[in-house]
């Protein structure tokens, strides 16, 4: 059957206006390919995109691994993962980094004991799920280990909160490639440093997680197969056809978009199931 329009959901991380701008070329390309109106929606938090996908009002979105796990756990048949981002070094994953202000004297998570700690967003993989699970495993219940565990609302907010001294330490994501002073090659540090929000000199790294799989691009399961194929192909070829556009879609430099299946995310789904019980 035919589709009458195609809606893309874009997750938070930058301000809405910038999200619209950096994805405009992508939107236009899809519109040309599918021949139906394509719209971009930029809800204020992860949950808006997830609800849209679950309810069937959004047809496609780039998700974090945790967001995908949440959808999968709610309704395994709602969406399929099709593509993920391949980094410059060929890896398809990234890391969560714990960090603190340099002048706070904190250099490891142990030293942050009894101080306040910021996660990004409860639905964020690198901003909460994975670091939350790993740290809990190592230090026990985090609410007891730290004086206060708080959700800043997003990666950008976590970085700013730590840089401002509102919280003693926090986590955010980066690819772990390149130099700390530049905020690594890509990730939340790089964005914040490029934007002049922070000076990387002021921050130190205190912890690094295991490799976290990049979030998938998902499409809604009930879409006609040819639509799914067209979108997948267009996106997979984006780095070859329009480099600048791919930069915007990938939130920075990346090598390519490569196919992915549900199997890659079983670990994250399991982590999420685990977190659920010890809430």
């Amino acid at each position: 059957d035919e589709i009458k329009q195609f809606n893309i959901g874009i997750m938070g991380g930058e301000n809405a206006r910038d999200r619209m701008t950096s994805n405009e070329c992508y939107r236009a390309a899809i519109e040309a390919e599918l021949g139906v109106p394509v719209k971009i929606f930029t809800p204020a938090d992860y949950d808006g995109v997830i609800q849209g996908l679950l309810g069937g009002t959004l047809d496609m979105a780039w998700l974090g691994a945790s967001g995908y796990a949440k959808i999968y756990l709610t309704d395994p048949n709602a969406v399929v993962p099709v593509l993920t981002k391949q980094n410059m070094d060929g890896s398809t994953g990234y890391y969560a980094f714990g960090f603190a202000r340099k002048d706070s004297g904190i250099t490891s998570v142990e030293q942050a004991k009894g101080k306040s700690f910021a996660f990004a967003d409860p639905n964020s993989t690198s901003g909460y799920l994975v670091p939350g699970a790993e740290l809990t495993e190592k230090f026990g219940k985090l609410e007891d280990f730290f004086s206060e565990v708080r959700f800043s609302g997003g990666h950008e907010q976590s970085i700013v909160a730590v840089a401002n001294g509102d919280v003693a330490a926090g986590v955010t994501w980066a690819d772990g490639l390149g130099e700390w002073e530049d905020g690594y090659n890509s990730g939340a540090f790089r964005k914040a440093a490029d934007a002049g929000l922070i000076d990387m000199n002021d921050l130190v790294q205190i912890w690094q997680s295991k490799l976290i799989p990049e979030g998938p691009m998902v499409v809604r399961n009930v879409l006609p197969q040819d639509v799914k194929d067209k979108i997948t192909k267009l996106t997979a070829d984006l780095h070859e056809t329009d480099k600048a556009c791919a930069y915007g879609v990938a939130h920075g430099e990346a090598k390519d978009f490569v196919p992915v299946t549900h199997a890659e995310y079983e670990g994250v789904v399991a982590a999420r199931k685990l977190q659920e019980s010890n809430s």
Binding site: D47, T57, L58, K70, T74, P122, N123, F151, D166, S279
Partner: protein
Amino acid sequence: MPDSAIPATSRPDMAATSHAYFELLRRRRLYGGILLILFVALMVSGFRLAESRNAGGFIDGLPMLLAFPAEVVAEAWEKRAALPGIFIEHFPSLIETLNIAAVSTLLGGIAAMILALLSTRGLARWPRLTGLFRRLMDMFRAIPEIVIALLLIYILGGGPVPAVIAISLHTAGALGKLFSEAAENADRKPVEGLSSVGATWSQQMWLGVIPQVAPNWLSYALLRFEINVRASAILGFVGEGGIGYDLKIAMQWGMGRYDQVVGIFLLLFMAIVLIDRLSDHLRNRLVKG
């Protein structure tokens, strides 16, 4: 009995009267019709525009309306045994939310009293500045609480204080306008009487105006408190403390913590309904005497 039983004893100016009335009627129908068509057109085209800019359509969405609540309630029902525990766990947050509302209603109410008296024609301390105070109240009212709160979080860090300041400012503006309208209708004679004995402005207001308007003002303030409880919960939702924050965290996690969502929601809802009832009752008593 036929109509013709009424004798046609029209006076000569009857034709003119009748003509004038029909003319009036025509004009009134024309304006009424235009207004009606305009309103319907605005509503219909507005709705279609909103629908076209929405991700999902209205008709397509209707069958899904209950999907989310059903999901939530089903899970909460399964874990219903945990509810009392959830109530107890989140009760301190509820108290914080209520405290934010109460403090901002108090502070905003006091500011509103002063602003209202300063901007009421005939009572103002500095009659030339009434316009200024009015615009000030308009500004306070126009800025959404959430904006002030988010700005203040940046300066003051999280916590209840930004919420208190934000809600207080808004309350000062909103109540100030209502207070000043009530004061405008107050009887001026007592004020003049007090003025004639050499009373200061504050004495004139405190003894001459406030006793007159107190029941009305109190009733408005109670209504505002009710509104502020909601506002304070909502501010929690966008990043302050209180029960709204707890609700957001649980809600964002989604499946697996829906029991928390329902528990927190019920707690908040019961508090709101209780306050609503109480303030309704008190207000009725205040205004009726």
